[in-house]
């Protein structure tokens, strides 16, 4: 009976943790779905989102009006992160796409650029905000953050589902991910849709970042790395490019991680997570919900 409650508690925490990871994983998967690009700078957009949230919530009078400051701060952080996402895309990826064309390393070049962007943003944060660890103001008692995280994450994902499947923009995004050339020929303004994809992904990351910091983390320039790796793995396990896949992968990773903590092998959490990744990929190379597409040459 005691064991049951222990597992129940771990599942609860794991679900919240996973929902948060999923929010970040969505950013990776959406960009990959459209551009076939692994946007390594995404974890840094997450980190910048956390900083934006920290400063905005502080400026809006964090502890005196926690709810207003929390909500307004989150929206502000989303806007700033969205803007940063687009800036990264326009500065680093768009010119490469325009010039890369069909050359052999059309995939490798943006990938390396993404890595470079990630390092650049990390160091920029260190320069601007110093390496100091900063704590968020305590807006809500931590006892309740898990529920809030879970509810927020589910709402945000429902909104995303609506955006992708019920709006014209979503239709355009899906069209782009199927075939960019064809979508362009059908009159979709590809560059605008790509920008919108980056904005959406970055906004989701900012929501994740604010929730993450309210619940458990401090803010510092390298904070994106840990959660970024987890989220990327989640996206791959779920099937990179698939939106429900990212959600499933995130939740799986969260739950596996928490359950390991109950065992004496809690130091081996990552070993387990990556074993699952390898296992899934061996059985289903496209990830749990990924579809094998036909490679265009």
């Amino acid at each position: 009976m005691l064991l049951f409650w222990k597992v129940w508690g771990a599942l609860e925490t794991g679900l919240a943790q996973g929902a948060m990871i999923a929010l970040v994983a969505l950013g990776y998967t959406m960009v990959y779905g459209i551009l076939k690009l692994i946007n390594f700078a995404h974890s840094e957009v997450f980190m910048m989102g956390a900083y934006a949230g920290l400063f905005l919530i502080g400026a809006l009078g964090g502890e005196t009006a926690p709810i207003v400051a929390g909500i307004a701060g989150t929206f502000g952080a989303m806007l700033l992160a969205g803007a940063l996402g687009v800036v990264v895309e326009r500065i680093a990826y768009a010119p490469l796409r325009a010039r890369g064309g069909k050359s052999a390393n059309a995939r490798i070049t943006p990938l390396v650029t993404a890595l470079g962007m990630s390092v650049l943003l990390q160091n920029l944060a260190q320069l601007l905000f110093t390496a100091q660890y900063r704590g968020y103001p305590r807006l809500i008692p931590i006892q309740h953050t898990r529920q809030i995280i879970f509810v927020t994450a589910v709402l945000v994902m429902l909104a995303l589902q609506f955006l992708v499947h019920r709006t014209w923009t979503g239709k355009a995004m899906r069209a782009l991910s199927m075939n960019m050339e064809a979508a362009r020929l059908m009159g979709v303004r590809t560059s605008r849709i790509i920008a919108l994809t980056f904005i959406t992904g970055s906004m989701l990351a900012a929501v994740g970042a604010v929730l993450y910091c309210l619940d458990q983390s401090q803010v510092y320039p390298t904070m994106g790395v840990t959660i970024g790796t987890r989220a990327f793995v989640a996206a791959v396990i779920g099937g990179i490019g698939s939106i429900p896949g990212a959600m499933l992968g995130g939740v799986l990773i969260g739950i596996i991680g928490e359950l390991t903590k109950l065992t004496p092998y809690s130091g081996l959490q990552d070993v387990l997570v990556f074993t699952v990744l390898i296992g899934v990929l061996l059985v289903k190379p496209t990830g749990l919900l990924g579809k094998a597409g036909i490679e265009k040459v």
Binding site: L2, K6, G9, A10, T13, Q17, Q126, T130, A131, Q132, Y133, G135, R138, P141, I142, Q143, R146, Y212, D215, Q216, S217, Q218, Y220, T222, V225, T226, E258, K261, L262, P264, S266, G267, Q269, D270
Partner: protein, 410 residues
């Protein structure tokens, strides 16, 4: 800051050449008009707070020494390198300081993992190194050129066990530590052994990874084991998170105990309320009742306008001890300086009386600090051998950790 210390160096130099016979030492490598000392510290990255405070302490000590005319008529000049809290970088910086800058001695690093990495290089190159605050026992085992001015984790764990069991009467201890960190796992292991000897027991134990941020499951597991106290020997960043999440899980502040890694203002700023009443072992507290410590606190406050952290005090002592040793050395060679550091006995620092033992570890007091009203306050001295005897001729390495009573008024 650079300009100021340069000015100081010139001033010290002028004084020195007037006073001494001139720098015609036997070692050809040391014809420089100053004592070049390399300091490699984590000035950025995850342990930046430690590195920056250590640097402040070193600067204070160096300016003091140079104002008083330097060492053997030459000023000290410390070259700082930032290792970005990364062991590989620490190795590189030590190599640079030795090969490019030709330093006579090294100060650093603040943490054990990086001190060990740097120490291996320093030892191979035969340049004496003093780490201010790396407490893992392995650090000075790399060779005869690596010293520390702090106690080791073995001593710290003994002191902790003595304090928890004998003083507080808390025998059921839960341990929470980072498995992938030398310092944290070393202290956990030390406590495990010491507790057994003193009739205590580890009732629950949880290891986590250094990058972990979600401790809820760990904390409820530990709480379910109904311990008297939870020992969490980890660095302040994660302790902040543990304290906050611990409160949510219904664990009070005085249920926690830790080690010197807790010492950073961030901890009390971000989780002072959650940790009210918690204890940790340390080198120093601003209100520790030692003469030199009081003196140091005043000087530090004059310059930096806040109370010194333990790292600042350790940096200060490391630099002061090094200057003292250079002064005592037979000649200017690294070997002579090494021998002088080895021969240190009863050096009075801000963190107590320091005697270098045969294993190049400092024999010095361990104090217990309590968090009270968001401040680090001195609670008691747990392990104090050199200080109690007064004269510091202690050569035996057996460690009877004596529990001295708390000062009145606590």
């Amino acid at each position: 800051m650079v300009a100021a210390s340069l000015g100081m160096a010139v001033l010290g130099c002028g004084k020195g050449s007037a006073a001494s016979a001139g720098p015609s030492g036997p070692a050809a490598a040391n014809t420089a008009p100053e004592w070049r000392v390399g300091a490699y510290l984590s000035l950025s990255g995850e342990d930046a707070a430690f590195g920056i405070f250590t640097k402040d302490g070193i600067e204070l000590a160096v300016d003091e020494v140079n104002k008083a005319g330097g060492v053997k008529g030459k000023p000290l000049k410390v070259l700082y390198e930032d290792d970005k809290s990364n062991p590989q970088e620490a190795t590189n910086k030590v190599l640079q300081l030795i090969d490019r800058d030709k330093v006579v001695a090294l100060l650093g690093e603040v943490t054990s993992s990086r001190s060990k990495a740097g120490g291996i290089v320093a030892n191979r190159k035969h340049v004496p190194m003093i780490t201010p605050s790396a407490t893992n026992p392995d650090v000075t085992k790399v060779g005869p050129f690596v010293f520390r001015v702090c106690f080791t984790d073995d001593v710290q764990a003994q002191a902790t066990a003595a304090f928890l069991v004998d003083k507080l009467g808390k025998k059921r201890v839960a341990v929470l530590y980072a498995t992938d960190d030398l310092y944290s796992s070393g202290l956990a292991e030390g406590l495990r052994q010491e507790l057994k000897k003193r009739g205590g027991e580890v009732v629950a134990e949880k290891g986590f990874l250094k990058k972990e941020t979600n401790f809820t499951t760990y904390l409820t597991e530990l709480k379910d084991a109904k311990p008297d106290i939870i020992y969490a020997p980890i660095y302040y960043n994660q302790m902040t998170l543990i304290a906050r999440q611990g409160k949510a899980a219904g664990i009070k502040g005085d249920m926690f105990a830790g080690g010197d890694g807790w010492d950073a203002d961030e901890l009390v700023n971000d989780a002072g309320d959650e940790l009210e009443g918690a204890y940790f072992t340390n080198f120093y507290a601003p209100d520790v009742p030692w003469a030199r410590a009081k003196d140091f606190r005043v000087k530090y406050n004059d310059r930096f306008h806040h109370d010194p952290s333990s790292n600042a005090a350790m940096g200060y002592d490391a630099a002061k001890l090094l200057a003292d040793a250079i002064g005592r050395a037979k000649d200017d060679s690294p070997d002579a300086i090494r021998q002088a550091i080895q021969d240190t006995k009863g050096f009075e620092g801000a963190t107590g009386s320091i005697t270098m033992d045969a294993d190049r570890n400092a024999d010095k007091p361990v104090i217990v600090v309590q968090i009270k009203g968001k401040k680090f306050t001195y609670f008691s001295t747990v392990h104090d051998k050199a200080g109690a005897a007064g004269a510091a001729g202690a050569t035996s390495t057996t460690l009877p950790a004596a529990v001295s009573p708390a000062p009145p008024g606590k």
